[in-house]
Symmetry: C2
Subunit: 157 residues, 2 copies
DNA sequence: TCTATTGTTGACCAATTTGGTCGCCAACAG
DNA sequence: CTGTTGGCGACCAAATTGGTCAACAATAGA
């Protein structure tokens, strides 16, 4: 239950990859796909909602690629998940209160909303820059040069 | 994303129903199905993991039915969801650390684990008795006799 | 013991979601 | 104009979800 789909997981890794290459100009989808071990055709679908959401911009043609449209510290994980997976809510009526007039009568509703707020609290307080910083710190702790580890941002799931 | 399936939602309502009838002996599945607006055949499948998990006991034959095996204040929502939906974890590698030796290298892993702990915190701190109390309080606030509202524990989702 | 009642189990099924692939089109640098 | 690169929609297989149904097991009471 309560699983994130690959959309959210892969997509977060894609953005982390872009965050780690922040300021380097357009990044090739091909390179992201290789580093994050995502198939190129599937990556194209993952990137689409990020572009539509104004989080990523793309340039076509030679020397093209994708890059972040906002600075990593301005991108909250809650926005990312929202774009990739839709509203964060364990049950439908929590997200869509107007459609369910009798919700206030049901106590389970209250609990699911508490769960939603708990999830949202974590995602809202985490920015892409936080992920970038944590990743770099992990690499430093290993005393390894960064470029040898750029493929190691997967989560094996 | 992150939706609870009907297993978790319906199952929680079933237990709330049993909590509200705590001490009244075996409750007919038929009655639960009617009050909670769940089809009887489907309810039978919902109740099975609760029985297997030792949370509910059943008695067959005339004057049979199901009832809580533990007191409502001893039943945490986290156990309920665990029984009905399996492990609470937004991604697989968070729940099953041994199987993914490289997880410590991946920062997204850390975030998903924070989300898991946030969810678990809410569910762990809520007991079935809490739900029962809240439900009764809502009914009182409406100044309506309880028996007229026993069907109103759904969540419309 | 017979019977009606009630829960148990497993087979089965349709719809939806998930996790992709593939081919063609659009844009752009040189 | 040509090659490179992303955009987009059609299509697909597998798993999950959300059920139904029929046969069976247990038990209370006549």
């Amino acid at each position: 239950m309560m699983k994130l789909s690959t959309k959210g997981r892969y997509g977060t890794r894609v953005l982390l990859d872009l965050g780690l290459h922040w300021g380097e100009g357009p990044i090739l989808l091909k390179d992201i796909a290789r580093r994050q071990e995502i198939s190129l055709p599937y990556l194209e679908h993952l990137i689409a909602p990020l572009i539509a959401g104004g989080m990523v911009k793309s340039i076509r043609g030679p020397r093209g690629g994708v890059s972040l449209l906002k600075r990593p510290e301005e991108i909250r994980l809650s926005e990312v998940i929202q774009l990739l997976e839709g509203p964060i809510a364990p049950v439908e009526c929590v997200h869509n209160p107007e459609a369910y007039p009798r919700s206030p009568l049901c106590v389970t509703h209250d609990i699911w909303d508490e769960v939603r707020r708990a999830i949202d609290g974590v995602l809202e307080s985490t920015t892409l820059q936080d992920l970038v910083d944590r990743q770099k710190q992990k690499w430093n702790l290993e005393h390894l040069p960064r470029h040898e580890k750029q493929g190691a941002t997967w989560e094996d799931a």
